[in-house]
Symmetry: D2
Subunit: 278 residues, 4 copies
């Protein structure tokens, strides 16, 4: 029977790793559909992503791989299974809408389990697509109290990633660590420029000639997580900050969707505060 | 006799400015070769750049313009005259070389009066083009002492702008204020990201997916002056910081030359910490 | 009473046009919110777009302008009124979906009157947004017969523009001339490269390192109409043509929406086969 | 003794190639400094570029590799040796100048043996760099006769590549086949748009919003050879064709130098009319 798996290996670099790993596949007569590798020489780290097909026993194959790679290696053996996401949003519809349209067209590589927002502005849009929408108002709640309510809903779902589609609230370390390495955010500047609130106002004030957007994994350090994708567009003195905001939306949604596609296809390794993307 | 002038006006916005200014030109039967205007509504500021040709008396025309614009207006009346620049550099040749090649091809819109560097690395290159080269070593000198030596040479020349073509030294407030609004620098990052030393190392460490360069006027605040031009290129995890530096050179030299061309053609207004570019 | 109008003038260039036109506004004490002009020297043609506000009588103002501009000038005097569009599509949802999401967010500057498609693939999506959807199958019909059916529906609506959001059928000269200067198309290549069928296959075969998309007005010459907007993205040897198609969709939808926004805001002049965009 | 070689393999795809090739390296205890591979599934073709270091016997290693790859494979075994180029130019200095500056800075990865031009415009520039310059006027000569004269000079030199740095003459099939796969050209448009004479005039006439440049290997079909690199810049209605030409020069020189760097570092495979670039 023809099976398929994505094999991701992230380990200390050693002489012969490509040989040893490819031998495991060759000995089992597997086809390599796609193969990328990279050695980070600065940190002596080896990264490999291989898509194999053929007639294999998953457990046996995993064990065979573990024998040839260093003992502390990260081995991900990912068999075909549709992923699931939960989306957090606030009021703006462009990033969420882009994901909804891709989902509807069957191009998202994931199911959207639910959309949670701290306002009800987007309820109409989400319901048009028959996707569960939850409003969790932050009014009168502390940051922690609000997050507890949000997490109650999140935890009703099985999911692989939480996507912050212009969710305009700062997350607490508790939230971030609860869903460690699972939260993807779109920040509306080409980080590390304009960290913090209202990057478009900051960009306008600074008089930059380029604005951009950054999709990144969320870590405890605000706007400091590993960057997945970035894109920019030119601007000029004619744009007031609201014009920049409007122009920036196109970049934001494209960058978030591109990053999401990379992550959903298991093309992104995180190492320290950086990403390796195949 | 057919004359030509670039008229630049920067003043408080008022109703009818375009009408009143164009009336001055119309009444004298002048041709408008090119005309751009912009109103900064946030600051109530009017900017206009007009290229006029025809038979005019410069003083009479200037006086007529002064009568219709606000009393505190900045009026620049620029008649055709080849500009002059002095270049400061250190060891890298790409930005300087780009300017030298344009100069040689007659495409620079300026004469290069001299190149001053704190090392002799570039002496050979500059002398190939029969341009005066001065090495002013900073060895054993304080920042101020070194600048005094540099300024002695600069002040031997008449010039319109000082171009920092990868001059890797921080300027003192005295130097900056002496040549206020006349110093153009190329910074090797898309400012305001990676202010300060070695932006490529910083960019590599941060794991950005885009690097860039910024040409700006130099003010007292390091890397904070009005931005003239910016450009970026994509990078990925395969590039070590030296690879980024190498790739970035192409962006640096193009951005500096583009900014220089804008400035030499009197297309750049500076207002506060921002530029208006026609 | 404060009124507002967009004044677009396109005429033979003459000395003093800016003066004469701005005098008309000044004499009536109108505010100029925004003003752009351009002279095409090759064709001796003058273009101006001014947004004026104030207390004016539209007819009187129009007549006053007509008196100062050449007799054959095109004068458009556009008062605030929400525009209407009809969309033609086929099976792909990305370009249509992008417009629907903007419409829903109130960012489109137009109402969508109807969507007409030659397949029913998009019916579900369109109906989610409570917008009339019409399937007009081309099965068994000649090109002319099919268009007659499409035009029957189109003509039920009042509209300013027809938007071809990846409508994969070639239009006849009759259709094009019926809606002359009102049809906006998105072509999936950076024209004039890869005119005709399946540009992505052509691009893949040619081995280009850049692909793109072009929004243009439709004229009788297939893919030859005036270009409104273009954008590109880098590609490499790893992309098969279907990957290029997928990557290209993001460019297509952004370029179409950007062009649409320019047209709906009356920022686009068409002169001969080219556009002037303010 | 530590040796180094670039191993390039281009052959029919077969199961186990990565395993077999990496086994050859592993068995000889070699370090893999860098490794990239790609399978063109459409044509069933395998491409691999590996940089190996260690203590090896070149002939023995080559023989060992030949035993594990298909008999018709292209195997290039490239040991460190500075490459040589001959440059052909006409009158424009920007592309040539960019190469000269890189050469002077030691960043070209090649020696420039000679510059040959059909005019003497560039003689002064080239001689500034102490590089042999030859003017071969085409006046009164047929295309073939002129090329015979050019080839007489070319053939005095040993070289790896001929670089056409804005050489504005069409080459005959004889010239092209004599230096097959060795000629790199920069074309001043984003091919396949605007094949043939004066692409900037064509681009201006067509009213495109983007212009570009393409570096490619030269084949018998004019402007149809395998593309190595492309880049574009935005333009608008304000640019006359000479402005486009001026703006385009920056793109041309950067694209040519980037392509040259890829070729000189043996990063470019040509397969059919396309390139695979690692």
């Amino acid at each position: 029977m023809e099976l398929r798996a994505r094999v991701l290996i992230d380990c200390e670099d050693n002489k012969g790793l490509v040989y040893k790993i490819s031998k495991v596949f060759y000995d089992r007569d597997l086809n390599i559909e796609n193969n990328r590798e990279f050695v980070d020489k600065e940190h002596g780290r080896f990264f490999m992503r291989t898509v194999v097909t053929g007639d294999f026993d998953s457990n046996e194959l995993k064990e065979a791989l573990k024998e040839v790679i260093p003992s502390l290696a990260n081995l991900q053996f990912i068999e075909p299974k549709r992923k699931k996401i939960v989306i957090l949003a606030t009021k703006e519809s462009h990033a969420l809408g882009d994901i909804l349209i891709r989902h509807e067209a069957g191009e998202l590589d994931a199911d959207i389990e639910a959309v949670i927002a701290n306002h009800d502005t987007l309820e109409g849009l989400v319901k048009r697509f028959d996707i569960p929408f939850f409003k969790v108002s932050a009014d009168g709640l502390s940051r922690e109290e609000h997050e507890v309510e949000v997490m109650k809903i999140i935890d009703q779902y099985q999911f692989d990633y939480i996507v912050l589609a212009k969710y305009m609230r700062i997350l607490t370390p508790i939230f971030v660590s609860t869903y460690s390495k699972k939260i993807i955010n779109i920040h509306h500047s080409f980080l590390p420029a304009f960290i913090g609130a209202n990057p478009y106002k900051q960009a306008h004030k600074r008089g930059v000639k380029i604005i951009g957007a950054t999709a990144h994994f969320v870590t405890d350090d605000l706007d400091e997580g590993p960057i997945i994708a970035q894109e920019v567009i030119p601007v000029n003195h004619r744009l007031e900050w609201r014009d920049m905001q409007r122009a920036g939306r196109d970049v934001e949604k494209i960058v978030l969707s591109r990053a999401l596609s990379l992550v959903l296809n298991d093309r992104v390794f995180v190492h320290g505060n950086k990403t390796i993307i195949f």
